[in-house]
Symmetry: C2
């Protein structure tokens, strides 16, 4: 909220009433600086808030997201909430289509919209987040999926990768798999799902947890890629976890293979 004018804050009863909307988003992270507003470059947040502000006739609408994706990361099921002025009698399809219209020509679109209470938060009400990481595992570089997969030439053994991944499932101190700059208070997380699947030329890594640390999925994928290439034995994943040091794990996989595929709520506002 640092971009609000420097005026005395209004009292709560003086604030105009608003209607909160949950929105489900798809976006292509290529060329975007990620979710969060930056000093320069296009962010999903700025594009979404600008679209909402236009719908609200210039009255500023701010947003909160379930997951602040990094630059180059994609989403098929990101969720955010927006507080629209309450005097706008909106229908769900009008919020969805209006925002998608004002988001043109950018590669960001609203798939669903639903009214929620002011106590509902896209971030704090979320009970899980799910990600898919796509590796194109073949000798030839991508022609159709450029910027949408991580290309690894050497064949990956997905059974070994799954064996390594199994060491990460459950509740652990994930210090070895969080970005050094990660600002989360606790390094403990509970990983519910970490599955390695082959789909033709692609290897997908599916991850699901209540929440993730910064770069956690990309660090797990980068480390599992060493196991898949037989440069690491699966057991070394357990040792890396125990070391509680970022240096003990493998490299960070690039952003372009990562997709935020869904965010869960109980109850689901979109159902």
């Amino acid at each position: 909220m640092s971009d609000l004018p420097m005026e005395p804050l209004p009292l709560l009863q003086d604030l105009p009433p608003c209607q909160r909307w949950a929105v489900k988003l798809e976006y292509d992270g290529t060329g975007l600086v990620g979710w969060q507003r930056q000093a320069s470059g296009l962010s999903v947040q700025a594009l979404l808030e600008e679209a909402a502000t236009r719908m609200a006739g210039g009255r500023r609408v701010s947003s909160i997201t379930a997951g602040r994706t990094d630059s180059g990361v994609h989403a098929t099921g990101q969720v955010a909430h927006l507080d629209f002025p309450a005097d706008m009698p909106l229908l769900p399809y009008r919020v969805r289509d209006g925002l998608s219209y004002h988001l043109k020509p950018h590669a960001v679109a609203v798939l669903e919209a639903a009214p929620v209470g002011l106590d509902w938060s896209a971030r704090f009400s979320a009970t899980w987040r799910s990600y898919r990481y796509r590796i194109l595992n073949r000798p030839t570089r991508p022609a159709l999926a450029t910027n949408h997969v991580w290309h690894l030439r050497s064949p990956l053994d997905i059974d070994l990768m799954q064996e390594g991944a199994n060491h990460l499932i459950g509740s652990h101190d994930f210090t070895s798999f969080r970005a050094v700059a990660c600002q989360a208070r606790s390094p403990f997380r509970t990983l519910d799902i970490l599955t390695v699947e082959r789909h033709g030329d692609e290897v997908w890594i599916i991850a699901k947890a209540r929440s993730f640390l910064h770069h956690q999925v990309r660090n797990m994928v980068g480390t599992l890629s060493l196991v898949g290439q037989k440069r690491w034995k699966p057991e070394r994943i357990a040792q890396a976890l125990e070391a509680k040091s970022r240096c003990a794990a493998g490299p960070t996989a690039p952003p372009e293979g990562l997709y935020l595929t869904g965010v869960g709520y109980e109850p689901d506002p979109f159902s």
Copy 2:
């Protein structure tokens, strides 16, 4: 071969010996003018022949393809053949990687390469071609698959579409479903497979035949979309076929949803 210099043709025994290579290609048709060389714009043919010519140290290498895709149409399994000078002792992976290297930065890549005899033709030896047509069937425009799907907002009934498609399977005069400019001698074709499938938000139409007429897949898809939207009853497909007039069938679906997915040979040079 219109770009050969205007000199007397050499006798066959004077032609340098060559080694023919079959290559399997993936490409993103966005921004390309299609397979065939045009007066202006980038074609897959020109890019591939230029890459091969560079590999051959400047000696011109020409190509023949299994299917001349239109501008905007994609391929995941296009096949072509190239005649390299026989004094180049090439290995399959070197042809694949060398061509892919010289095709950079264009969205065209070689997936496989195999040596074949001079009596083998990517076009005339093919025993089938297969296509996939992707329709994104949801209210919201694509953010991730822009230029890679046909976006249709109104819900499609795939059971009705399949009922309509069944009228097209088999041997027919496909005059109603060929481009008016189609230059094939006969309008008769035998359609082996025409299947309508739903995959989440997408509807896929899969087609397989020995060969197709110009725009045949896109005209079948455009017509089936009317059935899916309940603007046509499935039986009207049979009437359109019987009419033997392009005016009797539906519109041509746009190129960006179409993928040439495979070409069959017996035996398969890549197996």
